[in-house]
Symmetry: C2
Subunit: 188 residues, 2 copies
DNA sequence: CAACTAAATGACTGTTGGGTCATTTAAGTG
DNA sequence: CACTTAAATGACCCAACAGTCATTTAGTTG
């Protein structure tokens, strides 16, 4: 992951990978068919389990839809702004053109499922009268968009920041604006 | 642009570029030092002029901050969801690791300036009492985040859509949620 | 310890593709 | 048309690197 995320797929040499793993180049080929297989194995390493857990957690949640949404966004937000693993989605984004099957995999297993979860929360909020009647498929993406921005910012532009950017503050503001924006009451 | 955006920098051969331009490989080297120079020339082609124009337009705008914000977001949104040029930012994102100086250029010339414009609108709205007192640097990014999502969606995931996604609807919803979320009044 | 098996190595090979330049083609000039 | 200059070409060269495999090293068993 370190190698690929630093230079991209094409510019990473098998020797780089091997040295990074403290083994010889030939050894890599005992475990992987070729360079592409190394990359794919890496890219499939799954956040799927985590999503599964979230999905179940939500089904049995009793609080308001707003609370649930707040919870989810905080969670994803924390991941996006602190985890080292964000270079993985970043990497996939960068190499998307050369690995269409991986893109399809990620789209189905993570994006569609993730958006589905968000949508179901929003739909629930609308039905219960908490949220205004807005298109859930759009609102779900609005919930997620700032996370994507954080991932891209951290992995691409952060190195040129004079002062470290306050990701927590962004997420906090996002929650305030979003919840006020979709709630029916005069205040959120 | 067609070549690079299809396969990325490394996987694009000079012959591809040449054939695409209906000239011979050697001819490319009459106009560009090497492959990197071709890429950089492409990546520098500037939306800077457009930004300049926007900046001036805003200085003399008389309407409410909300109207101004709506205008800007609609504009950027239309660009993000219809222009073919989005493959350019997409490309830069993908190749960021290999061209740090280009990233710095884009960050300074486009991102910082663009965010600056948004921030100034928001600050104006806060001072005039239209908007709530939220951190402008965060709100500016919230304004922009869905555009980024659109760009990435279109250039990476759209090909797997069963039905074409309604980008206009997303932008419309974004405006509704955002303006209601940051306005002081009970309604936006 | 001898005999055997499994794992790891890295020198080597073949291919790919960036970059060069001798040659050809086209344009300009008196 | 003869001659000069500029532009374009693509066969060729060579460095880089993915992938191979004969050899070495480490581990296991009786």
């Amino acid at each position: 992951m370190a190698c690929f995320s630093k230079k991209g797929f094409a510019a990473t040499r098998m020797e780089d990978i091997a040295r990074s793993a403290k083994i010889a180049k030939g050894t890599v080929y005992l475990y992987f068919e070729n360079k592409e297989a190394v990359f794919k194995a890496l890219a499939r390493s799954s956040a799927g389990a985590r999503l599964q857990a979230i999905q179940e957690h939500i089904a049995q949640h009793k609080g308001s839809a707003a609370d649930l949404l707040r919870l989810m966004i905080s969670n994803i937000g924390e991941f996006a702004s602190t985890s080292e693993s964000v270079i993985l989605p970043r990497l996939l984004l960068a190499e998307a053109g050369n690995f269409p099957d991986l893109v399809k995999f990620w789209r189905q297993e993570l994006i569609d499922r993730g958006l589905g979860i968000l949508q179901s929360i929003i739909r629930r909020g609308i039905e219960s009268g908490e949220f205004r009647d807005l298109p859930p498929e759009h609102v779900a993406r609005l919930c997620f968009a700032p996370m994507l921005l954080i991932v891209i910012w951290r992995t691409t532009f952060a190195k040129f920041d004079k002062a470290p950017y306050d990701y927590e503050g962004l997420i906090e503001t996002h929650l305030q604006v979003l919840l006020r924006g979709i709630s029916v009451g005069g205040d959120a």
